[in-house]
């Protein structure tokens, strides 16, 4: 065990040229904290605080939970955290996941034995605690938007939170503060009771948050993988959420249990978008491997590639009532494909292509169908968001925006289109004319301190 740890340290030291890290002391910041983030924070966070324990900060970790302090520096072996991790106390942690590796547990022991010091560099201290909404000096980039099914509310991604606004922009209804730095996707269940927020903290962990809309309470936090989750989508009946992962998988999570139900490894690169078919039995996923893959949503079995490979794909949307999917990405062209193939497939067959839309001025990041399926909206690196007629491919309106639009949604009545992106403002347009109706910063901004760096 000892040699393994030395080996691990050696690897770290090799990786970090020039830094003097070949000492024996275990680092909270570099070694302990990442393990906690990846494995424990889902439940032990301010919004959940299982066992009264919050593991998102060093201070609250030291303080411990209902059972007392998490560790004893003078008697490391009696530390609660070690007992739970080793299974000497039940239930063994992390709950519902495989136990930590022995050398990871040994890191905890060794860290406690050497005084359990917080070595977080001042530069890396968090500017906001996880138990209250963040304070903003600049508007954060907007990466996701969602209208509630009744059209009354608009959910907007913030930094470590989801902001629930009244759809007409008249008021901020609630701030749903969670663990994840970034919220990549937002979707309401059809009954409007649950809000799915998926994202994570880049290069740390991915998370699916399931919020109870009425009470603004977090029902489940499911942490998955070491990277942000992308392109989450709800099955039509709301029982499952599919997400794209940076480990080239698609994960399907059971919304009632808050547990991973299926792991699908059909892609060869990051998966950035998912969508269920009309009847919820099949799933389409797109990603950096340029493929739109059709998968059986129950078994995870690969059915076929829908598209001819052309460029990295970043977005996928499904027609509201038909099994037609719209995909787009680096190639700048939105393609409309049938999910089903009328005849048997041949290599490089492109017979399921329904329509190729106009080439955009930049890469495509987001796509949306209007609620009746008659229109589509295309957003991305270009500074405009055009609306096309699905049937003809004709451009019917052009909404003037800004470079870098990452979220585009139609209101449930189909009359409005909302966008968000790089500049951190939510813009709402009238759909037929693209006339701007509203334009606001969804987060409260504090003036920048004069002394700020």
């Amino acid at each position: 065990m000892k040699t393994m740890r030395i080996g691990l340290l050696a690897v770290l030291a090799l990786g970090s040229l020039g830094s003097q890290r070949l000492q024996a002391e275990v680092s909270y910041f570099r070694e302990i904290r990442p393990i906690i983030q990846r494995n424990c924070q889902g439940c032990h966070q301010p919004a959940m605080k299982y066992g009264g324990l919050d593991l998102t900060r060093y201070e609250s970790f030291s303080a411990g939970g209902n059972k007392g302090p998490a560790y004893k520096v003078d008697a490391p072996k009696e530390s609660l955290v070690l007992a739970y991790l080793k299974g000497e106390r039940q239930p063994r942690m992390p709950l519902g996941s495989p136990p930590l590796a022995d050398d990871q547990i040994e890191l905890f022991r060794s860290w406690i034995a050497s005084g359990a010091k917080d070595d977080t560099p001042p530069e890396a201290r968090e500017s906001s605690a996880l138990d209250k909404p963040p304070v903003y000096h600049q508007a954060p980039v907007i990466t996701a938007l969602a209208y509630s099914p009744d059209g009354s509310q608009l959910a907007v991604s913030g930094y470590r939170e989801v902001l629930l606004h009244r759809a007409d922009g008249s008021a901020l209804v609630a701030r749903l503060v969670g663990l994840s730095d970034r919220i990549q996707s937002l979707e309401f269940s059809n009954d409007g009771k649950t809000l799915v927020a998926a994202g994570g903290t880049p290069a740390r962990f991915g998370e699916i948050q399931l919020w109870d809309v009425a009470s603004h309470k977090l029902k489940h936090s499911v942490t998955l993988t070491d990277e942000t989750l992308f392109g989450a989508s709800l099955s039509p009946d709301g029982s499952r959420v599919a997400v794209g992962c940076a480990d080239n998988t698609v994960r399907v999570v059971d919304t009632a249990a808050g547990k991973e139900a299926l792991k699908i490894s059909n892609h060869e690169n990051w998966v950035l978008g998912t969508v269920f078919g009309v009847n919820g039995k099949r799933l389409v996923s797109v990603g950096r491997d340029q493929a739109a893959k059709l998968t059986d949503a129950t078994s995870g079995a690969f059915i076929e590639n829908i598209n001819a490979l052309r460029g990295e794909l970043a977005a996928v949307a499904r027609h509201p009532t038909r099994d037609l999917i719209l995909i787009g990405g680096a190639e700048r062209i939105p393609y409309l494909y049938m999910m089903d193939r009328p005849a048997s497939m041949k290599i490089a067959d492109d017979s399921t292509l329904v329509r190729k839309f106009e080439m955009q001025d930049g890469a495509i990041f987001a796509l949306a169908f209007s609620p009746d399926g008659s229109r589509i909206a295309v957003a991305g690196a270009s500074d405009e968001v055009p609306i096309y007629q699905t049937e003809t491919g004709e451009r019917v309106a052009t909404c003037k925006g800004h470079r870098g639009t990452y979220a585009v949604v139609f209101s449930p009545d189909g009359a409005h289109l909302s966008t968000g992106g790089f500049d951190g403002r939510v813009r709402t347009y009238e759909v037929t004319s693209c006339k701007s109706e509203r334009d606001f910063v969804p987060v409260p901004l504090e003036p920048q301190l004069a002394s700020a760096r």
Binding site: G15, S16, L17, G18, S19, F29, R30, P34, P121, P122, E123, A124, R125, E126, S127, S128, P134, Y136, Q138, A139, P140, V141, T143, G158, Y159, R160, D181, R182, Q184, P202, A203, R204, D226, T228, N269, W270, R288, G362, A363, F365, A381, R403, G404, Y406, G421, F422, G424, A452, R453
Partner: protein, 815 residues
């Protein structure tokens, strides 16, 4: 304007002082730049302090010098750099080794420091710490889904990737310090590229400040580097184990100057002569020359470094100078303490110059006549040069050379096209067509390739990109191939320029001619626009460099005339220079710039003055290539021997002695034919055709010629002709049929000598003259004559003698 004044060094009075007795005192100090202007609080700058010793040697005292500002508006940091403290202007006194000098410092209003921008501040960091390197995110496919432009050649692209890619995940406006862009290189999160930036370091703070300021791009007009300046302009060391600090200064259009020594990429092209350490100190390793290549944000500067031979006792040998070539070469040699080797004797000269001008060694008769001619040697040699140039073999030899470069081959042109093209080249050489006219006719050719054979140029290249690449590489010595995909990594050439130049050839069309196998070169009336692969937009034609009197570029498909007028102009900085350098390399075995078709700032010439003089001589004489050839071969430098002395034995680039060159494949075969009096037969050409007259590599394919490195004419690169030595060649020489048959030919030289009953002495002399172009020495006479007597068949033994002569280095090399 003011900037220029800053740069001028101020040399100050020497002050007698005994405090530095331990070190050798200097008589004067000079400080560059003469003034420093600070605009931001965290900006560090320094000056170079050079001392002059009593012997006149310049030594670097930058580190040792004491700096005393009259008012403490600046202070020296632990890193030796000066940092601003408060606004003001003052004099700084520099003291070192008993001498003093002064320079000015001005600190602007530090509260009004310019905003951190991507262009000016952040991109240089990405380049310096290696994010944009070819093995990391700068590789063609990026790394782990994150791609930046190679070495940051395209800041706009990099900015967009950092900001917009993956919905802006790389920076975090809500909590800037938690940006992925900082967490990754500081290894707060796992990063495949390892730790590149320390937490809290200068680079870390700059990026943090930039994100906190809302990730501004900057103004390309102000924040792009306008000029890179490197101090000193030349590094000259009086021996190895000395060191010199180098400064890199970036000049911006708003007049500001920044010390970017730490961010610039500085490397030596010859580290075994002079190496440079991470703090930009050049260290002499051994005597010789090197160039320091300094690169910063797409700007390049090459600084010549000289490390002198430290040995005492150098005395110039005052060899005669035949023309300006020798004056310019000697000037450099003298400065570098290199002694040139004297000129060769008449026999050696005749062999060398004949092989170089006409591709053939002299016959025994020509040798005898030349050696016995009592005219004073330089005059006799000049006359011989004129005679050689007038010979028909001269035309054969240079037709072969241009056939290589223009890729004359039936593979591309068919039989008739190949013969026609070769014929056109032959005629051009025979009438000594001025080089500019020759190129003009090639590049503006239109019509049937049978009727206007110059049009075959475009039948070889076939498309606009290939035509452009070949034109620039062949006629300008500039390689633009890599700029098809990205800006040139070692030059100022950009990807845009690749397409701007290609646009001149967009309208060149090819269609089948009226005769079988013919093609017609015509101007396309549509679809002639060249589009940029990134934007998909049409690129307007534009000259690679501005040049006086370049014609306006017409807005029609016929743009070639304008291009060629610009190209072949005397004012084009590349055209005449490239051919002068190329010609020089044919005679001296090495270009003044080497490789000859890779002219760029980072590949400086071995002797700029010489190259400039040759270039000017050529343009002054209306691009008469024969004239320039004469100038070169009539120089003592060309005629120098291969024997070296202790002062030039390791000189490889300054032409202080000759370097043996293996004979080209065709010349070797022809020299063998001359020595043996027998020529191999090839079905494609009439009997007794010299290898140098072969029209293309189809003749004698896969045989002796190809083994000895005849180019297949698949590119116009000079490198295609191989001059290496290989095992198949050695085997071919020892056992091959070409040599075996030639030596034993019943109608050959040996057979003739035996049949006419020549004496042993006559046989030995004739074979030595024929094979090695010299008389045998007394000892060689005796050894060879004894050998001829030792066997039963005099003829077979004489064949052995010839065989061993043509297998000697003296035969195989032009020396």
């Amino acid at each position: 304007m003011r900037n220029r004044i800053w740069v001028i060094a101020v040399i100050m009075i020497a002050a007698p002082c005994g405090a530095f007795a331990a070190d050798q005192n200097v008589t004067a100090l000079s400080v560059t730049p003469a003034a420093l202007v600070f605009r931001s609080p965290d900006e560090g700058m320094r000056v170079l302090v050079m001392g002059t010793t009593a012997e006149g040697e310049q030594i670097d005292l930058s580190e040792a010098a004491r700096l005393d500002p009259a008012e403490s508006i600046v202070k020296r940091g632990a890193d030796g750099l000066l940092y601003p403290v408060r606004q003001g202007e003052t004099k700084v006194t520099v003291t070192a080794r008993g001498a003093q000098a002064q320079f000015m410092v001005r600190v602007g209003d530090l509260t009004k420091a310019p905003q951190v921008s991507f262009l000016r501040d952040v991109e240089p960091i990405l380049n310096k710490v290696g994010c944009t390197s070819g093995t990391c995110h700068g590789s063609a496919k990026g790394k782990n889904g994150f791609k930046l432009s190679l070495r940051g050649y395209d800041p706009e692209f990099d900015y967009e990737v950092l900001l917009y890619d993956m919905s802006g995940r790389r920076f975090n406006r809500a909590d800037p310090a938690r940006s992925l862009m900082l967490a990754k290189p500081t290894q707060q999160v796992p990063h495949g590229g390892g730790l590149r930036i320390e937490l809290g370091s200068r680079y870390y703070n700059t990026i943090l400040k930039w994100i906190s300021a809302g990730v501004p791009y900057g103004d390309p007009k102000v924040d792009r580097v306008e000029k890179l300046e490197v101090l000193p302009k030349e590094v000259f060391m009086h021996g190895p184990s000395k060191a010199q600090q180098v400064l890199a200064l970036a000049h911006y259009s708003d007049g500001s100057v920044r010390d970017v020594t730490r961010e610039a990429n500085i490397s030596s092209n010859t580290p075994e002569v002079a190496d440079v350490d991470p703090s930009a100190r050049v260290k002499g390793e051994r005597k010789g020359e090197a160039a320091l290549l300094v690169r910063y944000e797409g700007k390049f500067v090459a600084v010549p470094v000289t490390v002198l031979n430290p040995n005492p006792g150098f005395a110039w040998n005052n060899l005669p100078q035949y023309n300006y070539v020798d004056e310019l070469i000697d000037a450099k040699l003298k400065r570098l303490k290199i002694l040139p080797s004297p000129a060769v004797d008449d026999a050696e000269f005749l062999r060398r110059v004949s092989l170089d001008l006409i591709g053939l060694p002299p016959t025994p008769e020509e040798l005898r006549v030349f050696i016995t001619d009592k005219t004073d040697s330089p005059a006799k040699r000049r006359r011989m040069v004129d005679r050689l140039i007038a010979r028909p073999e001269f035309v054969d030899h240079w037709t072969l050379k241009w056939g290589d470069l223009l890729q004359v081959s039936r593979r591309y042109l068919g039989d008739k096209g190949m013969w026609e093209f070769r014929g056109w080249i032959r005629d051009s050489i025979a009438q000594n067509k001025p080089y500019d006219k020759f190129v003009y006719e090639l590049l503006t050719a239109r019509g049937s390739s049978y009727e206007n054979p110059a049009a075959n140029f475009f039948r070889v290249t076939r498309n606009a990109k290939a035509s452009m690449e070949k034109t620039t590489q062949l006629f300008m010595g500039v390689r633009l191939v890599c700029t098809q995909c990205h800006d040139h990594p070692f030059e100022k050439w950009t990807q845009n320029q690749y397409y701007q130049m290609t646009a001149f050839f967009g309208s060149v069309g090819l269609k089948p001619g009226f005769q079988s196998g013919d093609e017609i070169v015509y101007d396309k009336r549509e679809d002639y626009d060249i589009k940029h692969p990134k934007t998909g937009r049409v690129v307007a034609a534009k000259y690679l460099v501005a040049s006086i009197g370049a014609p306006p570029i017409p807005n029609s498909p016929e743009r070639r005339e304008a291009l060629v007028e610009w190209l072949t102009s005397k004012d084009n900085p590349f055209f005449a220079r490239a051919i002068a350098n190329r010609l020089w390399s044919y005679f001296l075995g090495r270009g003044i710039i080497e490789p000859v078709d890779d002219i760029r700032a980072s590949n400086p010439p071995a002797n700029e003055a010489l190259l400039e003089a040759l270039t000017k001589d050529l343009t002054d004489h209306a691009f008469d290539l024969r004239y320039l050839m004469k100038t070169i071969v009539n120089s003592r430098a060309y005629q120098a021997g291969i024997q070296t002395n202790v002062w030039n034995d390791d000189d490889k680039v300054n032409f202080s002695h000759a370097v043996p060159r293996r004979l080209g494949a065709e010349a070797l075969m022809d020299a063998l034919a001359l020595a043996a009096g027998s020529r191999p037969k090839f079905p494609e050409v009439p009997p007794d055709t010299k290898a140098e007259e072969f029209p293309d590599p189809h003749v004698g394919k896969d045989g002796f010629l190809d083994v000895f490195g005849r180019p297949a004419r698949e590119s116009s690169c000079e490198c295609e002709r191989r001059s290496d030595i290989s095992l198949p060649q050695a085997l071919n020489l020892v056992n091959g049929r070409t040599i075996g048959d030639a030596v034993a030919d019943p109608k050959g030289r040996v057979a003739g000598l035996i049949l006419e009953g020549a004496s042993d002495r006559a046989i030995v002399e004739d074979l030595y003259l024929a094979a090695l172009c010299r008389y045998p020495t007394a000892k060689e006479y005796d050894t060879a004559a004894a050998y001829l007597k030792s066997g039963e068949s005099r003829a077979a033994w004489a064949q052995d003698l010839l065989w061993s002569l043509v297998n000697s280095k003296a035969f195989l090399y032009n020396r």
